[in-house]
C-alpha cells in the first residue's frame, strides 16, 4: 500500500491560494480521553467535486465530518471551508455548509413545509426567497406530495429526502452527507444517488459510506480512512484503473552460489508471458528485488516462480506489491464489507 497523498499538510496551504479548492483539511486530529478517533488526516477537495469518504464503521468518518461542520472542535490541525477556518470563523463556515447527519434531523411533530420553513429561517432565508427555496427543494428532492404531512409519519426514504432538502435549502457551497443511503431500499438508494449526482454541479459534495460500489457510481474522488488514519486519496478513475488493469508483483531472487546478475534475471522475467514491465528495485549482496507488472487475472505468479527456479536461482519471496481498491477495502473492512458489497452490488 502506497498512500498517494502527501503526508505534509502544508502542501495544501499553497494549493488553496492558487486554485479553487473548496475544502482544505490538514493534519486534522480528534482525540478523546483514551482513543484517537481521527489521526492527522490531510486532504483537499476541489470545487464542484463529489468526494466519497470510504471506511468501515468506526473509522472516523462521522467525526471528520462533524469537525468540518463545526459540530466538534478539532484537537489539532486545521480545516477550512471556502477559505474560512472551522475554529476561527464557525458562523461563516456554517452559512456555506449543508449537513445531513447519519439520522435525518427531523422533528416528528412538524409538517414537512413547516420544518423546511424553520430550517430555512435558521439559515438566514426570509420572505419570498424562503418560499421560493422551499418549493425548489421540495421539487428537487421529490417531496412535494408530502409537504403537509407530519414528519413523524413519513417513511424512511421520505425522511432521508427531507433531510437532504433541509441540507440544500440555503443553496450552500458545500454539502456534507453522512451515509445518505443507509437504511434505504434499493430503489430509494438509486434515486438518492441520482439526486446527489444531479446536485454536484452547483455544490461541492462529501459523502460518507461503507459501500464500495456507491463510491464507484457516484463519486469522482475517493478518500479511504481506517482507524482514524488516511489510507489513500485518489480519483476513482485512477483507483479503478489500478484495480482492473495492472497487477504488480514483487519478486526477490537470490543466486545459488555467489552473486546474481540482475540483467539476466530481468531478461528471463520479461520473457514470461503476460508480463509488461520489469524493474529492478534493489540489489543487496546475492539478492535482488524486482517489481513485475502484468495484466490482472493472468497466472503470472506461477510462471514467474517457475522461470526463476528453472534458471537455477532461488526464489526468496513473491508477493503482491500494491493492492486494488477492492483489496484495500476488503482488508480494511473484513468480512462485514464483503457482505455489504455483495448486497449493494446486487442492488446497483
Amino acid at each position: 500500500m502506497h498512500p498517494r497523498t502527501p503526508t505534509d499538510g502544508r502542501h495544501y496551504g499553497s494549493l488553496a491560494a492558487a486554485s479553487n479548492t473548496m475544502i482544505i483539511v490538514s493534519d486534522l486530529t480528534k482525540r478523546y480521553a483514551r482513543t484517537t478517533a481521527v489521526d492527522h488526516i490531510s486532504f483537499a477537495v476541489e470545487k464542484g467535486q463529489i468526494v466519497g469518504f470510504l471506511g468501515p464503521n468506526g473509522a472516523g468518518k462521522t467525526t471528520t465530518m462533524r469537525m468540518l461542520t463545526c459540530f466538534l472542535p478539532p484537537s489539532a490541525g486545521t480545516a477550512t471551508v471556502a477559505g474560512f477556518d472551522v475554529v476561527e470563523q464557525p458562523l461563516e463556515v456554517k452559512r456555506r455548509i449543508g449537513y445531513l447527519p447519519e439520522t435525518p434531523p427531523i422533528y416528528p411533530e412538524m409538517a414537512t413545509a413547516e420544518y423546511l420553513k424553520f430550517v430555512g429561517k435558521l439559515k438566514g432565508l426570509s420572505g419570498a426567497e424562503l418560499s421560493k427555496q422551499i418549493d425548489y427543494v421540495c421539487e428537487r428532492c421529490a417531496i412535494t406530495d408530502v409537504k403537509q404531512k407530519l414528519l413523524g409519519k413519513l417513511s424512511k426514504g421520505y425522511r432521508q429526502r427531507v433531510g437532504l432538502a433541509q441540507a440544500i435549502i440555503h443553496n450552500p457551497d458545500v454539502l456534507i452527507l453522512d451515509e445518505p443511503t443507509a437504511g434505504l431500499d434499493p430503489k430509494q438508494i438509486n434515486e438518492t444517488r441520482d439526486l446527489i449526482k444531479s446536485l454536484a454541479g452547483d455544490h461541492t459534495i462529501i459523502l460518507s459510506t461503507h459501500i464500495l460500489p456507491e463510491v464507484e457510481q457516484t463519486c469522482e474522488q475517493v478518500i479511504i480512512i481506517n482507524k482514524g488514519k488516511l489510507v489513500v486519496t485518489d480519483s476513482v478513475r485512477n483507483l479503478q484503473a489500478r484495480a482492473r488493469g495492472v497487477e504488480s508483483v514483487l519478486v526477490e531472487v537470490a543466486g545459488r552460489n555467489g552473486g546474481v546478475e540482475p540483467t539476466s534475471v530481468q531478461q528471463k522475467l520479461e520473457q514470461v508471458s503476460g508480463v509488461s514491465r520489469v524493474v529492478c528495485t534493489s540489489q543487496v549482496d546475492s539478492r535482488a528485488v524486482f517489481e513485475v507488472e502484468s495484466q490482472k487475472g493472468g497466472l503470472v505468479r506461477g510462471d514467474l516462480a517457475r522461470a526463476v527456479v528453472e534458471s537455477g536461482w532461488d526464489l526468496n519471496e513473491l508477493k503482491a506489491a500494491s493492492m486494488s481498491l477492492e483489496e484495500i477495502f476488503l482488508q480494511l473492512t473484513g468480512n462485514e464489507a464483503t457482505e455489504n458489497a455483495a448486497a449493494s452490488g446486487g442492488q446497483a
Binding site: T69, P73, L91, K94, P101, P105, L122, K123
Partner: protein, 254 residues
Amino acid sequence: MRNVSIICRKELGSYFASPIAYILLVMFGVIFGFFFWNELGYFVMASMEMQMRGEGMPMNLNEQIIRPLLSNVAVIGLFFIPMITMRLFAEEKRTGTIEMLVTSPVRDVEIVLGKWLASLILYGCLLLFTAVNFAFLFKYGNPDWKPLLIGYLGLLLQAGALLAIGTFISTLTKNQIIAGAMTFGVCILLWVVGWVDYETGTWARVLSYLSVVTHFEPFGRGLLQSKDAVFYVAAIFLGLFFTARSMESLRWRS
C-alpha cells in the same frame, strides 16, 4: 434577536403541537381553580361570621385571597417547571436534531435564549388561568391591582430562574425523564432550604437565602424589593450561562 425569535416560536409550536402544553394547562387550571374556590369559600364564611358578630375587622381581598393564592402558585410552579423544561435539550439530543441546530449559522446563546423564552411564555400561559379566576374578584369586589401585578412579576422572575436551571439540566442528558427528575429535585430543594430560618448560624442564613420561595414572599405582598429581584435575575443569568457552557462542552465530550 431574529434567531432567538425563530427558535422560540419553533419551541412554542412543539409545545402546542404535542399534548404537553394542553395537559399542563388543564392540570394547572384545575389545581389552581380548586385553591381559588377553597380560598374564596373561607373568605365568604369569615365575612358572614364577621357580619353576624358585628365585629368590624376589615376584610381584605388582597390580603386574604390574592396573597395566599399567589404564594400557592409559587409552590405549585415548582411541580410544573420540570415538565416544561425537561424536553428542551434532552429530546434534541436523543433524536439528533441538535446536530442540525448546532451546525446552523446560529450562536449557542441564541439557541439557549430562544428555548428559555419559549418555556417562560408557556409558564406565562399557565398564569393566565389564575388571571381568569382573579378577574371574578375584580368583577364582584374591588381589590387593589398593583400588588397583584407585582405578584405576577415575582412569579415570572421566580419561574424564569427555575426554568433557566431546568434548561441547563436538560442539556446534561439524552433522557427526558432523568432531566425532569433532576430538575424536580433541585426545585424542591430550592424550596425547602428556606425552612431552616429558625436557625441563626451563617450557614442557615445562606441556605435560607437560596430559597426561591422565600424571595417570593415580598412580591406576594406587593412589595418590589431590589434584593429579591436581583436574586432572581442573577439566578436566571447563571442558569442560562451554564446552559450555554454546557452546550459548548457537549461538543467537546460527545
